[in-house]
Symmetry: C2
Subunit: 421 residues, 2 copies
């Protein structure tokens, strides 16, 4: 049994493309997240090309300083793929041919009506005493090697091959070594700034080192990532997690729109569906983004009826029956026009709700009175209409996103209140 | 003068957050791209936490194997920031206090109406004999150290501080060391598959090792990145580049929509503007994405009049005057309805062009006759209408994106032909 906190861990990503300006090692984020679940922290990440000297050096260094070494990539069938062969030389363990693995690889090709190219034969070689890790989604099996008290794991690089192996084999096997349990959740929040949230929850943070929180701020969305650890049982970790989650949610209440990974557009869709209500949207400065986000959710045609992108004043008047005098008097970017647009799209489409957005996304079009980032957002329902005035900071795309986020959040809060009545 | 091909180069990214599942070192992609311009390839990338032992070890290893070492991050004012202090110990060069740097830092705070916190004083310390690299966008200056024939460069981690220093100081200074010139461009292509492009241009690749090409494939878009190198002059590199670019563009012709970094929606916007034409869009399965992409371009209100997101049949009939019998007879996903939608939005909005999209984005809604991914796209102009039938593969978001890409590309090709008349 190893203490996972003490397990010095290193990730090695092998692949010349990862040293180009075009590709990034993002596998290690996934692997790190799952290792963290076991209380294992990563100390080093090294990225190297498909080059024997580099691979050898990197393994030598890793073997000196790390207990757990996870190397990804370079197990393919081509001459470039050298990880397996180089590790064999570095730790002086022979590569042994496995007939059953070769049969598996041949079968994979056969299933697709192909015959195996001879180069793939090298994927059937496994280091002496290594445990074979099955790869259900590719031809290169992984390998688990224990040597001199170190664990070295060789894994394929393609994410659709790697991730299932991590989840189904590596984590459960390390779990046995580590006896460490964890549970996690993400609280997603809209409608409050990061500093406001911090000031609200500052006394609710746990002093327990087994409870870990990370706050990530995006435009229009703050996320609190909570992870709880236990050396006893998953249940203990879960109960620590829930305790912390409840502390935060008692304070932040309906400002939290999701604790289960859902995006805001999914939450709004679910609420509309459960209320059996329909929606239509009228967009000026978001230019279609609000509709795009709503319709990203499979099945959204059940509750989303239609949208209008009304850039020109003429379109606002004709499509949404916004009175021309309102535009003349208050301007297209105004509370009055936002209200008219929301009512207009609701009535025209016969939807239960109308959302509207009108504002100045920039970079041009701002004035001292109406600066870039000024956005009015309207929500109409059969009995009324409400409009918020917002000033969003950032580039055009950030203003567009924050506007769509605020529109969705206004509807979400309305639907929540509606339910309470 | 150093031969840049022979310059073993290593990037070190320092920051504990880069070992978490939340953040990724993406600075190195930018730095790599600019180094490649000088013919310098990166051999190692190491990512470590803000931890003295790790930093020290990593520098020691790098000094053994690399000629050029670029370390980013860990120059901040807090106790966590250890890169400067650790390198000083590792290579045994004292940190020297620079009054002028401290004055600069104080002035930065003063300009914002603040006084400098005492912790920032440590940012005024520079390694013995190091060259100070000014940081116009932050308090931590960079440092250029030459020792035992190696170059070590310390740089701040925040991208808005790092990138200008790379462009304005590091690359020009390395340029003097390297005497290597390069030029590059990206050909962006829509409407052809990667394999089709490969088969067309296979004989046009250069045998000259000074000309480098990388093909990157995305859904709906293929990019050919070309880079040409010269040890003589920028002009020579440029002429090699142009020669290769012309070879490809003579073959691929108008399939290339951009060689200057423009996105498809920018190209379409520019063409509409130069033709003094206007556009409106009617979207079913893209659900607003097409309008969203068009309106991402600043100033798009000059040529984009309006859009309709018509999810329901009722909205197609009412908003776009699609004859109900057409929907009954051919179905909402059909050539006939796409044509009607394109004409409908054009007429209603009084635009010169109408684009329409109707299809099945999935995951639900497919039938044997009309599978998920079947999308009809219509383009109407005053004298006619044309519709394409497409089968796109992939998840909902990929089908949506490819549909919007194809719609934009149909209009682009029409506008190009139009110009030729």
């Amino acid at each position: 049994m190893i203490k996972s906190e003490a397990l010095k861990t290193e990730i090695i990503a092998v692949g010349s493309e990862l040293l180009s300006p075009f590709f990034q090692d993002s596998n290690s984020l996934y692997v790190t997240n799952r290792l963290n679940d076991l209380g294992i922290e990563v100390s080093f990440k090294t990225i190297i090309g498909d080059e024997e000297n580099s691979i050898r050096q990197t393994f030598e260094i890793a073997l000196k300083r790390s207990d757990l070494i996870i190397a990804m990539g370079g197990l393919g069938p081509t001459r470039d793929d050298l990880t397996r062969e180089t590790l064999s030389k570095t730790i002086d363990k022979a590569l042994i041919f496995h007939q059953d693995i070769l049969n598996n690889i041949k079968q994979r090709f056969k299933n697709r009506g192909l015959s195996m190219p001879p180069v793939n034969t090298k994927q059937a070689y496994i280091l002496e005493n290594a445990e074979v890790i099955e790869n259900p989604n590719g031809t290169a099996p992984g390998q688990w090697i224990e040597t001199d008290g170190r664990i070295i794991i060789l894994l394929p690089g393609p994410p659709h091959e790697l991730y299932p192996i991590i989840d189904d084999f590596i984590i459960p096997k390390l779990q046995k070594h580590c006896r460490h349990f964890s549970a996690r959740c993400v609280l997603k929040i809209a409608g409050l700034t990061e500093s406001k949230i911090e000031s609200l929850i500052t006394d609710a943070y746990s002093n327990n080192p087994a409870v870990e929180t990370n706050t990530l701020a995006y435009p229009g969305q703050i996320e609190i990532h909570i992870k709880a650890h236990s050396s006893v049982s998953h249940e203990e970790a879960l109960s620590l997690l829930q305790e912390q989650e409840h502390k935060f949610s008692d304070i932040l209440k309906e400002n939290i729109f999701s604790n289960s990974g859902e995006e805001l557009e999914e939450v709004v869709g679910r609420l509309l569906r459960s209320h059996k209500k329909t929606l239509a949207a009228a967009e000026s400065c978001t230019g279609g983004l609000l509709s795009h986000r709503i319709t990203n959710i499979p099945g959204s045609s059940d509750y989303y009826l239609e949208g209008s992108v009304v850039y020109s004043n003429e379109a606002k008047i004709r499509q949404l029956s916004v009175p021309e005098e309102k535009i003349t008097r208050y301007g297209a970017v105004s509370k009055e026009v936002a209200a008219s647009m929301a009512r207009g799209i609701m009535k025209k489409s016969n939807a239960d709700f109308g959302l509207s957005v009108t504002g100045i996304a920039g970079p041009g079009g701002g004035t001292p009175d109406k600066p870039v980032g000024l956005v009015f957002i309207g929500l109409a329902w059969h009995e009324g209409v409400s409009v918020t005035k917002n000033i969003f900071l950032g580039q055009r795309d950030i203003v567009k996103f924050q506007s769509s986020q605020k529109a969705l959040d206004m509807l979400r809060r309305f639907l929540l209140r509606d339910r309470k009545k």
